[in-house]
Symmetry: C2
Amino acid sequence: MNRYERLACELRSRIEEGYYQAGERLPSVRDLVEAHRVSISTVQHAYQLLESGGLIEARPRSGHFVRPRRERPPPPSIGRAMQRPVEVSQWDQVREGTCLLPNSKTFYLGRGMPDIDAPTLRPLLRALSRHARRQSLVTLNYDSLQGQRSLREQIARLALGAESHLHPDDLVITTGCHEAISIAMRAVGEPGAIIAVDSPSFYGSLQAIRSYGMKVMEIPTDPSRGISLDALELALEQWPIRAIQVTPSCNNPLGYGMPLEHRRALYALAQRFDVMIIEDDVYGDLEYAFPRQPTIKSLDTDGRVLLCGSFSKALAPGLRIGWIAPGRHFERAMHMKYVGTGSTATHAQLALADFIEEGHYDPHLRRMRAQYLRNRDAMLDAVAAHFPASTYATRPQGGFLLWLECAPELDSIALNQRLTEQKVRIAPGPMFSAVGKHRNCLRINYATFDPQVEAAVARVGAEVARMLEEAGQAPLAQLAEDAGAAEAAR
Amino acid sequence: MNRYERLACELRSRIEEGYYQAGERLPSVRDLVEAHRVSISTVQHAYQLLESGGLIEARPRSGHFVRPRRERPPPPSIGRAMQRPVEVSQWDQVREGTCLLPNSKTFYLGRGMPDIDAPTLRPLLRALSRHARRQSLVTLNYDSLQGQRSLREQIARLALGAESHLHPDDLVITTGCHEAISIAMRAVGEPGAIIAVDSPSFYGSLQAIRSYGMKVMEIPTDPSRGISLDALELALEQWPIRAIQVTPSCNNPLGYGMPLEHRRALYALAQRFDVMIIEDDVYGDLEYAFPRQPTIKSLDTDGRVLLCGSFSKALAPGLRIGWIAPGRHFERAMHMKYVGTGSTATHAQLALADFIEEGHYDPHLRRMRAQYLRNRDAMLDAVAAHFPASTYATRPQGGFLLWLECAPELDSIALNQRLTEQKVRIAPGPMFSAVGKHRNCLRINYATFDPQVEAAVARVGAEVARMLEEAGQAPLAQLAEDAGAAEAAR
């Protein structure tokens, strides 16, 4: 954070704490130069930042004034239905987002990265170090295909928190949730098979469907409840769908938690049409409410749910430790696991099993849930402050990802390109669709939230405003003025 | 090792050192009881073990005598040709061999496990511990899809030893060689594509072909030179083969090193028929001769070779770190890597890069090559001593795997079942074929060789002899007598 960002941050805090009230005049540039011992241009830049964020306004010859507080952006509504199963065509955006070497000067606001800086993670690093120091041969040896029993026992125990009664032998350890999803897809279908997905949907699952030559049927999804059961039923009646892939808890990217009765109805529908359910629970333990909601797997009486999870979001993605409870497709899943990676790295499994057994997992989760909830609200405020009033935002019930829907004229891929020069990257909406839908949407990450993150959000919001202005939308200033009216007109 | 095995081992050493010469009488049971302070039955069991191994013989009322030294078993000859591409039907044996939880009381003589007990591996454990202690965020973070640059640089440097000129950007880090092979298969072909393989062939590759719905064309293979080029050419003329998958260095399971001119001719053939080559080099650095032979990749002028490697055999399989140099299929390989596992575990990559950069890799290799060569000869002697004279054995030029071809009546799957009770497991031949060929063959591992291993080999050899006897072959004693004659008759 440079000087003017630090100063802007300080002023923003004062405004948010009510020290400066709406309509009140802020200190003059000269006063701030003297009080903070900074240059005139630093103060001017700080005021510009706050102004572009819509928090203050400059009145000619009068100085800077606090603007009335903006409402948080309203949630988006459900998308339109798709007509038929399609092949997944998007890859370039995903490749760009996941394959580029991280550049320390660029702010990756779009990534699915948790905060890995918490002190509650230290016992995990200690366990990793301890297992290496022990010079145990087990660390270096092939693991069995199914994975370390001690870790599977811990995962089965944790699953009880989501009311899933799993036996350690029901589980296969995988190289992250990616491999779990990949195994699940191949266990349920062959090339040409149709998978129904919520939309927007995690791009990793879509890419798995693409790579196995399957087709995808995108089902409209309610941003606060999940996949539309009516639309799904219609699709199940019309097409020979093999499986339904959903992320009911802390949905990525929409953040909703699917209500329990909705889960029950989804499972009943799957039974009626005899299709499988691939349940991505990778963010599940990060639900803000405690205890967390039961998984769909917990309702499973006939083994049709393949539950996929991992420690990548709740702990640390670099470990690459996930799991799958493949239900009735256990044998096929074992074959896919064998073919894909042979076995999972032993060292990280042992360290993780220790970390959980020693009781470090729950305190870490408690800390992260509280942090992510706090950050969610801060991020919603930041979006309210820095984005055009035409923006909609989700209300995540867990995890650390926010989905923004901008005015229809916005092209989020073009936005990302323009942001490159400003050293910020977002995740553009079309990544989350098989056919480039959600072009006016984007995903941002609030795992950490500090003035640097807010400055990055401000840059994105300003760029969105500029692009909409260029596209013939009302200019930023006017939009900000009309925020209340726009709200009412929706 | 129990008492009688220990005593047998001691006596065997004395015979091998020439202390007791061929035809000489060994000490009486009573003498040994007194000298070693053991029970009569211990001595009797020790003598029975040596007898079943063909090293000594009991003469009624005269005592035990050293038998003439047996010749090492001759190498097997080339197999018969296959008529057409087939689907891979074997999985049960592979599943059993790789999925069962290791049982510490059972001797896994068939596994592809290196010796991970060498002191030269300790710096690797120290590097793992150091990176965890550093509490570096990098350890816990997602890696980029392509893998750590520092490790790719080291791999590119090591590849020069096999005359491969690779740039770090040509490489993608994978979760073991398993993932590399899996990526390679899917990069070159879609369901229904035909892959030509050497035969016998690594079961992991066959299972990958199976799981992707491809077909396999098994090409007869010379146990000392590799895949038959004549047979391969015929197959290429007759079938639309997509790629040739071979393991030219330290072949698994045959152990040969494909001569350089053979590699050149294979590459020329691939060019002529415009097919890809998937080169499995996972054992390549363990060639006994130094410098090792150039890879086929080193001859590659048009990017048609997909080179797959890993540290699983040269260092430690539990790390699950491999790589692929996918040549012209780089982009497809990146997509398959993304879909399969997203990225590779960061911690082990960092530790490995340090280990190699600090100069620990070459000394470890030197040590292991010498050990494996020593063990190869000891294992050949043990097979000569304990297996029926009708047995053929390969002459591995690297690695730590021996391939035995028994009399045609032997069923190695039934053998493995009978060995379960005796707490030994071998890798039965049909695992290495798409359609259950090589039924009278088995693979055993000599990464470590000590009296316990020899006792396990003795149990396998005795069981083979028993089974052949039951199948109507000449009894064990007679076989041993006729060893010389049988040899001449081959």
